[in-house]
């Protein structure tokens, strides 16, 4: 019989590289912990937030049903372990809270393809092909294996999945599990998601030349963007098209004359990012 699916959003991390609590980072004006819980809740029977013992009174987390780590600071695998101990009959759809690009379709893909007779169902990373442990379903039968994995001194949930009997799926949407760990990645993600919260989308035109034209795969495009400046727009386009030129090597042109990275963009502006020139 297939075990009932519960949801677990992991929010117990230390956010060391981000230098602020990741759970509270906002996209479109909503904290990412809230976004993750809202995404997961309709898809599972019950949804919990995994926290460290010292976070149980944190107001942002206390708004949800929480499960506190039992074994000290083990990171994500400690959160999974605590949930399995608390509700051993359940299968757990475990989700990191720092996945700003995750969408319901990706979770539905995982649930639809779930293999309940195996220990876990997960995606393959679109970056390195290894299992993605923090957007995955752990069946009840995986609990003893995870407990043994921890008892043997291991912490890495990715390594656990790599050696476990797990179903691995290819993502329909390859960027859905890109996570963010640094302030720079946060700014890029906000730009990519049309980020300032209250800012609305405006029509802009972008022109590409030379190496950037080849990397973008187009000479120009019309788009809707919330980017306030060419700097924000370039971060958005870098993420969308995989542009590999660093902005410090580029010049900006707005409406057919040179511009600055920090000037305000208006609806209808045409923006070009100019690679290093080589006339003559």
């Amino acid at each position: 019989m297939t075990a009932t699916l519960y949801g677990l959003v992991l929010a117990g991390g230390r956010s060391r590289r981000m230098q602020r609590d990741k759970a509270g980072l906002e996209y479109d004006g909503r904290a990412q912990l809230a976004r993750a819980v809202e995404l997961l809740t309709p898809l599972v029977s019950r949804c919990f937030v995994s926290v460290r013992g010292d976070q149980q009174d944190d107001p942002q987390r206390a708004a949800y049903a929480t499960i506190a780590d039992r074994l000290g600071e083990l990171g994500p695998i400690g959160g999974i372990h605590a949930a399995q101990q608390e509700h051993p009959q359940a299968a757990w759809l475990v989700l990191a809270c720092d996945l700003p690009f995750l969408d319901a379709a990706t979770l539905q893909q995982l649930i639809a393809a779930r293999a309940p007779q195996r220990l876990a169902s997960a995606f393959r990373s679109s970056h390195d092909g290894k299992p993605e442990p923090l957007c995955a379903i752990y069946e009840p039968a995986s609990a003893p294996a995870i407990a043994a994995w921890i008892a043997a001194g291991n912490k890495c949930p990715r390594s656990f999945l790599a050696q476990a009997d797990a179903l691995l799926l290819d993502l329909h949407s390859p960027a859905a599990l890109d996570n963010i760990n640094t302030p720079e990645e946060y700014q890029q993600a906000r730009a990519r998601l049309g980020g300032g919260g209250s800012r609305s989308l405006r029509p802009l035109k972008v022109r590409y030349f030379a190496l950037l034209r080849e990397q973008a795969g187009r000479g120009e495009e019309a788009l809707q963007s919330a980017a306030a400046t060419p700097r924000e727009l370039y971060a958005e386009l870098q993420a969308r098209h995989g542009l590999k030129l660093a902005p410090e090597f580029l010049r900006v042109a707005v409406n057919d004359d040179f511009g600055s990275w920090s000037q305000s963009l208006e609806a209808g502006d045409t923006v070009a990012f100019l690679p290093p020139v080589a006339g003559g």
């Binding site: 030379a210 870098q238 090597f249 010049r251 020139v277 006339g279 003559g280």
Partner: protein, 159 residues
């Protein structure tokens, strides 16, 4: 017709046709840039130039105006090719005429130097083994280098 032009047909360096002749001019200096068969130790088979045309013409015109004002020459033109070029073809021509040779030489040198550094024109080299590269761009990738490395390519952007 502007004093800075882009064209996709062969350049004819014609001082008279470009109206550089004037009874007050005592000297005429020109520079022709030709497509070379090698660059940075690699054998080059052919080139492509790409330009952002409106801005290139505007910036080129600014450079010529600066040269005329700074060196006191009356007449200057610059024509730059775009599109595909074969080895030996003329890629750029600068023609300057003035009262005396000294200001004409200096203005000509100023124009070609500034055009190379400021005008949005890009050059793609096609090499003997079939690969290709955008000159000055290939070392500008994100995360592809350490910080020291960034300074060994002169990416002068403007004055």
């Amino acid at each position: 017709m502007g004093r800075f032009r882009l064209q996709d047909t062969p350049i004819v360096a014609d001082a008279r046709g470009a109206r550089l002749t004037d009874p007050a001019n005592g000297g005429y200096v020109s520079f022709e840039g030709w497509v070379r068969d090698h660059n940075e130790g690699r054998a080059v088979r052919r080139l492509e130039y790409e330009a952002m045309s409106g801005l290139a013409e505007r910036e080129g015109e600014r450079i010529i105006a600066e040269a005329c004002a700074r060196f006191g020459v009356a007449h200057a033109v610059c024509v730059h090719r775009v599109g595909g070029l074969e080895i030996g073809e003329m890629a750029v021509w600068v023609g300057v005429a003035g009262g005396h040779r000294d200001e004409a030489f200096r203005a000509c040198r100023y124009i070609i130097d500034e055009v190379k550094h400021r005008v949005p024109i890009w050059k793609k080299e096609h090499y003997e083994h079939g690969d290709s590269g955008w000159v000055n761009c290939e070392r500008c990738a994100t995360h592809a280098h350490d910080h020291d490395h960034r300074h060994d390519t002169p990416h002068a952007h403007g004055s």
